[in-house]
Symmetry: C2
Subunit: 294 residues, 2 copies
């Protein structure tokens, strides 16, 4: 599985178009953000699905970079002092700690700008209906109904009045939104049937919740060196964390239940579309621990 | 000319889609940002040009809101403590001072997200070539080659090593980018001929420089109450300001020269396209002082 590492970082830098004329502080911030793109599971998923549904290699790479740019921008902004005030991310100091807040914000804006442009380029020759559906996902997943709305609720979280159900809903809105984007943006190219669409949507919800749950467990338990990002912050900030809301044993049971639901949904997709959804099967066939480091 | 005031504010709020389910702090920040949209000259220009080139009223309004959203987002982010650390804007306290930095950042992201979505909706049925050209302007004007890149250079400005020429270049990149968007996004619908395109481009450069120059004069001279935004900050922050670089008399001469170049370019457009460019003529026929408060 080591082939994954070759693809993301170089492509992520190249498609930014950050030439030598870009102000050096901003250019350095951009290089910092894209130099540690994780294992690239998300990018590989988008790329594989896009190829499966007929995009050229160049366009599939652009779509994969677009999704990763949106994701990286959300991480950069979430880590800011005014938001989570995080110190480290993926084992590195956060970009605002190294290159300043202004450059971090401008880097995030650059990533968002390029994300939209690359999405456009990737889908330029797709049928109008596909393009419209795909751009609808970008709108919903990133905006008030998705990432931005979820982050606002996350920051406004009041531990005294919030139930485990609320916590799950907030997590699904935020984490699920980026998964939905990684799944549906390329999936729309395959014009999924209504039943496939329902299964894909369920997959995103389960995946998002499971991913967030693993993150919560890591935050509640692990030392900073292990998780590679600032940990224990959820409690310190009074932020939603299912481990705090449910306790560890119940969180573990929920984890097992979500994993089972994921497997069942994948089996359903296999039944409905056969090898159309093989790229998704490939991602979920791997151990959870490996996936969650993506 | 008072009819302008009716249109912008209600449309700007409506197209955000910020329903009652949106987290109250973010919703309040959004309402704050769009409640004082200036005189709406930019929005009226985009709307008038879009109508002139055949968009429906609904789509023309969407395109106008999209351009204004991008503009408002840039103002909100520029005013942040990490950027210009401004206190007031358009006679109101800045949104981050009233609703907090986190809500301000999320409001800006919402505006950007909706800006892209509305651009898409407005151009959905335009020919592929027009759509591609229009989206190219969004990419260039907002990204590293435009607003974001210009803001980075603005913040990195070093008064000891920077010439009046540099100052003009930085101003053109930032201010000119948003004007270019307001002009070219709707103009692409009219498929301008190469000579018209050159004239429109010149118009954007002159307009951007003139607008920025007026801003610089206001910053250098006016009291806060007069300009309606935090003034004298350019000098305090060591930011590029042509009045400081050239002195006031030279700045005034430059202002007159730019105004003459603007008039000449408008005459050229009239010669080339006749009433095709009437909406632009209408904007520039007004006194500069009225325009610059837009």
């Amino acid at each position: 599985m080591k082939t994954e590492h070759a693809f993301p970082a170089a492509a992520l830098w190249r498609h930014l178009g950050a030439g030598p004329d870009v102000e050096p502080g901003l250019r350095a911030a951009l290089a910092w953000v894209v130099r540690a793109p994780g294992k690239g599971v998300r990018m590989n998923l988008v790329q594989a699905m896009a190829l499966r549904f007929g995009l050229s290699a160049g366009k599939a790479e652009r779509l994969a970079c677009a999704v990763e740019y949106f994701h990286l921008a959300s991480l950069v902004l979430d880590d800011l002092p005014a938001m989570d005030d995080a110190q480290s991310r993926r084992g590195q100091p956060c970009v605002h700690r190294v290159h300043g807040e202004a450059s971090a914000i401008l880097a995030a804006l650059t990533l968002i700008n390029r994300g939209y442009a690359l999405t456009d380029e990737a889908l330029a020759t797709a049928p109008a209906r596909v393009r419209r559906a795909a751009r609808g996902w970008v709108d919903r997943c990133l905006g008030l109904a998705g990432l931005v709305g979820g982050q606002a609720r996350d920051l406004a979280f009041d531990p005294r009045t919030t139930t485990a159900r609320d916590v799950a809903r907030i997590a699904a809105a935020k984490t699920g939104a980026l998964f939905a984007l990684a799944v549906f943006l390329p999936a729309e190219l395959g014009r999924p049937a209504p039943a496939e669409r329902r299964a894909l949507r369920a997959l995103c919800v389960y995946w998002g919740q499971l991913y967030q749950l693993e993150d919560d467990v890591a935050d509640a338990l692990a030392a900073e060196a292990v998780a590679g990002k600032t940990t224990g912050r959820d409690r310190a900030l009074g932020r939603p964390n299912l481990v705090h809301a449910l306790g560890l044993p119940a969180a573990r049971r929920r984890q097992a239940r979500l994993a089972a639901l994921l497997r069942r949904t994948l089996a359903r997709l296999d039944e409905l579309g056969g090898d159309r959804w093989q790229p998704l099967q490939a991602v979920f066939a791997r151990p959870v621990a490996e996936r969650s480091a993506a």
